[in-house]
Each structure stands twice: as C-alpha cells, then as structure tokens.
C-alpha cells in the first residue's frame, strides 16, 4: 500500500487496520497526528468496535487523542455558552461556523475532531456592536499593527481575532464567508435567509446543510496554507455522507451553489473529496456544475491532489513543495485585486514582522 493510502484506507475502511504491521501502525499514527485527524481516526475505529483489536502501543495513542478531543469538545460547548452570554444583550443574530457549528449541531463531523478558535458570522452593520460586547466581556483585540487592523477590517472579511483575557480562547468574527476583495462575490444576503437555529440558545444559528458544505468548500479552496487541508477534506466527506442520504439536500446543492456564487469551489470540493477519500458523489450533481477549462483543471489537479494530502514526509513527492507554493500564491491572487496584492506583499516583505511569534 502506498504511504498516503494508509491513512485514507484506515479512515474510510477501518476494518483494514486489523491487518497492519507494527511499522505500518507507526506510520499511520504519525500521519494522522500530522494531519490533525488522530482523534478522528480513533473515533472511526471505536465506532466499529475495533479499538480492542488494535495492538497495545498504538492503541495508547488513539486513546490519548480521544481524551484530548473529548475535552476540547466540552471546551467548545462552554465557550459557545460564554459567547452567547456576552452577545445576548445585543440582540444580534450570530451564526456559528465550522468546528463550533459541528459541535452545536451535534453532527458526526464533530466526533473526535480537534478544535481551536471559534468562528462566528454576524451582519456587517453589527460588527462594532459585537466587538464592543465581546470587549466588555473580556475579549481583547490582541497586538496587531495598524496595518494589520486595516488589512482585516477593510479588505478581509473579519476583524482581527480576539482573545479572551482569562480563558485564552480565540474568537474570529466574520461578516461574510469570503473577503470583500475576493474575486468571487458571495451572495451573503442569501446566506442570512435561512440559517438553522440552535435549540436552547437565543439568536444562535448554524448554516443550513447545503450552506455548511458550501462554506467548507469555499474556505478550503480559498485557503493558502493547507496544513489542515486533509482534515478539512475529511470534514467535507463527513458532511456529505451525513447529509447525502437526503435526496432533497442533493437536489438543492447545485442550485444553492449557483445562488450563492460558489459553484467553482463546490466543483473542486466534490472532485477532490471523491478522488482522495472516495466519497460517494452522485454523477448527476458533479455534471450539473460548470467545470473549469481543461488546462485549468489539469493545473488544479496537479496542485490539489498533492496539497490536500497530509503534510507529512511520507505523503509528498518532488512536486509537493511547488504545488503548495502555487496554491499559496493563488489564494492571495483570488483574495484581492492585483494592485492591492502587490501593495500587501511588498509591505509584508519590507516591514519588520510585528506579528505574534509562536511561544515556546
């Protein structure tokens, strides 16, 4: 079995791990850890009641990862409650995005998943009120230069991440799912038309299933740094399998993508989730979405079939570095117009780096 297929096999056909040699377990654990899906793998194996059959040494790592994921999931629930308490008085509707949404919607996608920041989306006109409410409840703006502040606020689609003074947790507040400057213009108004309310919480929503998939696709195919690319693909696979049993969902996916302006990201999402993870995607769906031209598609295949694999030495070939660099450049290209991009990159190259360094 080729090395990248080891992890894909284990995730999609967990019964296959029964035949693994110690050296294969060694590689599998490392790949999964690097791709940030070790706890997901543990969950998949556990869901098939196969954990007891795993050899002792790797089993300890699966169990450890599960403990961390469980604690993080609990922490997300608590964090969402704190956020809701902070924002309740504003009366502003808040849409949870990504990981926090999967947890609060109680989706299988959340099980075994690791979490970091909480992402929320609020109406653009309410951003200042939200920012103030968060500040009053202990979130701070962090050390961002004036340039960074402008970058986030004016050109991107979020205010700079805020960190809670006591809990240390980070919240990302967006008012759209892609930057204002992006070449794709997302129909944000349509997004707000039909989110699903989170039971038991006032003014708290998650995106409806089609929009959740489309957001995940849009995010993944605009992302420049794909450290979590494989994990995001696994999320997409999980969402599609979860919702895909509903024919109505499948029927709405294409038209909704068109309505929101996200057909291209959906095309790529379906193409690569099928090719890399073997997600069952009905032909008719893929065929109903306009495909990019052949040269474009070949270039995207070259890049994404490499960059969406775990960023581990066992899953790279000599073109992987080039593929990732190309996608990094592409992500900036599609996020802002050319002159803005030039200004931004020049400024970043010339100015000393004020951004937070990773603490040891």
């Amino acid at each position: 079995m080729k090395a990248p297929e080891l992890l894909v096999s284990a995730l999609t056909r967990p019964e296959s791990v029964a035949a693994l040699l110690p050296s294969q377990w060694d590689l599998l654990i490392r790949q999964a850890r690097r791709a940030n899906v070790l706890s997901t793998l543990a969950n998949v194996i556990e869901s098939q009641a196969l954990t007891d059959g795993v050899p002792t040494a790797p089993r300890h790592h699966l169990v450890a990862a599960t403990a961390v994921a469980r604690q993080q999931r609990q922490a997300v629930r608590w964090e969402v409650r704190c956020i809701q308490e902070a924002l309740a008085a504003t009366g502003v509707p808040v849409v949870l995005l990504k990981g926090a949404a999967y947890v609060m919607a109680d989706l299988p996608t959340a099980r075994g998943r690791m979490f970091s920041d909480v992402d929320i989306m609020v109406p653009r006109e309410s951003i200042s009120r939200i920012e103030s409410a968060l500040a009053m409840h202990g979130w701070t703006g962090g050390h961002h230069s004036n340039y960074d502040q402008r970058y986030y606020r004016r050109w991107m689609h979020e205010i700079p991440p805020m960190q809670h003074i006591r809990r240390g947790t980070v919240i990302d507040v967006h008012h759209a799912i892609l930057p204002e400057t992006a070449r794709i213009k997302v129909n944000t108004k349509a997004l707000w038309q039909a989110p699903d309310a989170v039971p038991g919480y006032d003014n708290l929503y998650v995106l409806q299933p089609t929009d959740m998939v489309l957001h995940s696709a849009a995010h993944l195919f605009h992302e420049g740094e794909l450290h979590n690319g494989f994990r995001d693909l696994v999320d997409l696979d999980s969402l599609l399998r979860q919702f895909g049993s509903d024919d109505a969902f499948l029927g709405r996916l294409g038209p909704r993508a068109q309505e929101l302006g996200l057909e291209r990201p959906l095309y790529y999402a379906l193409r690569y989730v099928q090719r890399i993870l073997g997600t069952p995607v009905p032909h008719r769906i893929l065929e109903s979405i306009p495909a990019p031209g052949r040269p474009s598609l070949r270039a995207m295949d070259f890049c994404y079939l490499r960059a969406l694999l775990p960023e581990h030495s066992s899953c790279t070939d000599r073109w992987s570095g080039l593929a990732r660099s190309a996608l990094y450049v592409r992500s900036h290209w599609i996020r802002m117009p050319f002159f803005l991009l030039l200004y931004h990159l020049t400024r970043k190259a010339v100015t000393p780096d004020q951004a937070d360094r990773k603490e040891q």
Partner: protein, 307 residues
C-alpha cells in the same frame, strides 16, 4: 539463548551508524523512542547515559520519532545551533550546539508530557523503596532533583526525576528511570555525595543555568518494568542552613498542588479529578525542608521503615 540487545552491546561506530540513519530504537519503558542524529556529542551521551537500556528492531512501533539536528545553512557553522525535531517538525527555538544532549532530554520530556494521556502526568520526581513510591512534586528550583539524586544514591530506586507517570486506571506508577537533570550548585553537591555517579560534563548558560545529567543506576534500569504503588507525597524545599523537618501536610492542599503540577489534569476532566483523589487518599502527605542530603536520606529511611 535469546538475549535482549542493550545499547552497551553496540560498538560506538554501530551506535553512530544507527543514530545517523534514524534506525536506533531505544526501549525507554513504557515507551519506545526512535532517535536520529548526526551529532557526535549525542552519540556519546546516549552511549553513556542509556547503556543499560534495550534496543528494539527498526521495524517495530515507536511512540516518538525525534531528531536533534545541526542548525541549517549558516547556523551549522557560525555560532552553531541545534534543533529538536518531533517527527520531522522543529518543535522549539534552536539552541547553541553544546546543548544538544540536554535538548534531546528536554524535547523527549515535552513529547511524553504532551501525548501520553493514558497516564496522569505530574511534574514530580518519584522514587521507590520496599515496593512503595514517594512522589516529590515541586516547581523548578525547589531542590527536588538534587534530593532525588541524593536518595537514589542511598538505596532508593529511581522511578523518574521529572515526570511521574500514574496509570489512570490502576493508580500505579510506571517507572521511566531516565538520566537525572542536575542544575548549578547541585552538580557539585551530588559529585561530592556520590563520587562514582556518572555525569555528563556540565553545560553552561542554558535556560536553566548550568546543567548536567546523571546516569540512572543500573539497578533502576534493570527493574524498569516493576511498577510501584504510591504511598507518600512529599513537597521538598531546599533552604540553606535549615534543619531537616518532615511535617504532615493537609490533603486538601496536597490535592490542589498536585493538580497544579499536573500536565494533563485538565484534559482528563472528571476522571482526572477522581484519579488525583484516589492518589491523595492512598498517600501520606508531607512538607519537607532540608539543607543536608545525608540527613535527608536518613529522614526518608525512617519514613520508609515506619510504614
């Protein structure tokens, strides 16, 4: 007759070869660690410090893949640096090249503390006598490593000097018996206390001051598979000139301090709370003040006999 291959059974060049191509797996119970390094100082240090430890075959499962590598490009030669890699990814800021071996030990501590959640992990030394373990939790600078090294030189078995591993299910302590970290003045103190202790040359100007590592007693390594039940929790404080005093300490306060010194108490949530509770219930808890190691050893001897 099948014999377990030990690091001491390898010639220096065999050791260097395996280390260089990343095929050296050391059984550092309860883990297996794959180590790669092209640095001579690492090879020498491992050959001395881990000589009694078993070697595993390269195709076996390893819990951690670690590497200490020279700095890249310029920093390989000019004011040379070294980097610690965990499965190929640099984990910390680089350090001066002469800190290569201490960096390996600290890096391995980090790997274990970050990932080994089958255990409740406490930042504490732990030693054993008569099948019972004494846990010595303490923040850095309290003299726990000095005390640990001292007691281990006076008959106590070394279970661990830095990371105490408590099985979440059974509550027993799993030994790790790795080299003991000594800092600054305690290096000379232990040299005087135990002249035939084997130590690395002191390395100056590290973040922790001057450090040296002391080889674990062969007996401790030989018995590494023997777990022990915790019986005492003792908070040591070294105070120059103080008389040796062992005073009972409140269990409630012990709970708080042990939880605070734990790396993964918060990860385990409720089961972590229950594990610490069981630990405190089964242990006699003390504060310990000392300035003289021989006196301290005698006091601990009395403690061991009294139980």
């Amino acid at each position: 007759m099948w014999c377990l291959l030990r690091l001491a059974d390898l010639t220096p060049s065999e050791l260097g070869y395996r280390l260089g191509n990343g095929s050296l797996l050391i059984g550092i119970s309860p883990f297996v660690v794959r180590i790669r390094s092209s640095i001579d100082a690492i090879s020498e240090a491992l050959g001395t410090m881990y000589r009694d430890f078993p070697i595993n075959e390269p195709d076996e499962f390893a819990d951690f893949h670690i590497e200490v590598a020279p700095g890249s490009r310029l920093r390989r030669w000019f004011r040379p640096q070294v980097n610690f890699h965990f499965d190929g990814i640099p984990s910390f800021q680089p350090l001066p090249a002469n800190q290569a071996y201490p960096m390996l030990e600290w890096g391995l501590n980090w790997c274990i503390a970050t990932h080994s959640h089958r255990f409740l992990l406490i930042h504490a030394a732990v030693i054993e006598s008569g099948g019972k373990a004494a846990i010595l939790p303490a923040p850095p600078g309290s003299g726990k490593s000095t005390l640990c090294a001292g007691l281990v030189s006076r008959g106590w078995r070394l279970l661990s000097d830095e990371l105490t591993l408590i099985d979440m299910n059974t509550g027993v302590i799993h030994p790790m018996s790795r080299p003991i970290n000594l800092k600054n003045a305690s290096i000379e103190v232990i040299r005087g206390f135990q002249p035939d202790a084997v130590m690395t040359d002191p390395v100056a100007d590290t973040k922790k001051g001057t450090v040296a590592l002391m080889r674990p007693p062969s007996e401790s390594v030989r018995r590494i598979a023997e777990t022990a039940r915790p019986a005492w929790i003792v908070f040591p404080t070294y105070t120059a000139g103080a008389s040796t005093t062992l005073s009972p300490y409140s269990k409630a306060h012990t709970f708080i301090r042990v939880a605070r010194e734990s790396f993964n108490y918060d990860i385990h949530g409720r089961t972590g709370f229950e594990a610490v509770s069981r630990l405190i219930d089964t242990c006699a808890c003390f504060e310990f003040c000392y300035s003289d190691l021989e006196d301290a050893a005698r006091e601990f001897s009395r403690l061991s006999v009294a139980s």
